[in-house]
């Protein structure tokens, strides 16, 4: 039911001229993808520095909340570019992405990383006073930082795997589980 709705939406989008023209534009599509990938260096880059500080592995002499606070804006600028280019890329090949198991796992991991970040932010506000200047933050903080890095590693892996057609709907040898998880309804047209 939900899969059908998502597919209907994707099929509608796929029929729009702006979708096909982006898909067919070699330079625009590839530059969007390049921008999407390279903005990792800013968005995930800033996130990694913050998380490494929360693990006590970088800049131990600088208060943890200061690093988190000062790097928040560049990180958000990076993530905004990621979201804009990501959504834009989606509009080029909506049917394939909608039914991609990697795309779906990526979105779930993104959501989990977002929830973790919100909880972590609250935890930081409530308790940082007691350990802010500690070179090595308490265990709970370190666990949250490690979880954040792991979730984002998963996002990167899934993001990269989307490009591969191993489990594309309609491929021979897909298990029932893959077809279910990817929400396969329509077979993909040959590229």
């Amino acid at each position: 039911m939900l899969n059908k709705l998502l597919l209907d939406f994707a099929q509608w989008m796929d029929a729009q001229p702006w979708s096909s023209s982006l898909h067919e534009s070699f330079y625009l599509f590839n530059w969007l993808e390049t921008t999407h990938v390279m903005t990792l260096m800013l968005s995930l880059g800033m996130l990694v520095v913050i998380d490494l500080r929360m693990l006590g592995w970088i800049m131990p002499t600088v208060p943890a909340s200061k690093i988190a606070d000062r790097l928040f804006v560049p990180m958000i600028i990076g993530f905004s570019i990621m979201v804009i280019t990501g959504v834009w890329l989606f509009t080029a090949i909506p049917i394939r992405y909608t039914q991609s198991i990697w795309f779906r796992i990526k979105l779930i991991l993104l959501f989990a990383a977002f929830i973790n970040a919100v909880l972590f932010h609250r935890h930081l506000k409530a308790s940082a006073g007691s350990w802010d200047t500690a070179p090595k933050p308490p265990k709970r903080t370190r666990t949250a930082a490690a979880l954040s890095l792991s979730l984002w590693a998963g996002v990167v892996i899934c993001g990269r795997f989307i490009a591969y057609d191993w489990y594309d709907c309609g491929k021979d040898g897909n298990s029932a589980f893959i077809n279910w998880a990817a929400g396969c309804i329509a077979e993909l047209p040959a590229e």
Binding site: T34, M41, V49, V62, R70, L71, V156
Partner: protein, 159 residues
Amino acid sequence: MSVEPFFVWLEASPLGVFMKDLPATFATVEAVHLMALAVLGGTVFATDLRLMNVILRDVPSNTVSEQSYKWFKGALIVLLITGFMMLAGVATKCYGNPYYWTKMYALAAGIVFAMAIKQPLLKQDHATLKPATRYLVALASISIWFLVAASGRWIGFSG
């Protein structure tokens, strides 16, 4: 002397065969390469934007660059290892790919710049450096790593 035989040999080597053996091998190495790129980018942006007085203005610039450099080196090593592994899988394609060579020259320039120019300069007290020097060093650093990463991405688009 042409270096082409090396690329042919590399692709036929056990490493080249390993990289092609399973489709997921190459993709997984690519993903690790990207994660290391995020770490490298984070340390480059932290150091360079601090040098430009854009971020972390209330943290000593020397502290930011010293602390970042450790992780920069670690990320660079992972990038070089995973990059070489990917090259082994598609060596003969890369040999004829202009983006591959652009990336290699930019990478060589980036490593020389980071280790032989930027790092010795940043060992001094940053307060004694001219603002223009700090700004230009940071701008050069960001530009060169941008070129390395972007030309790297384009290797895949033109194969």
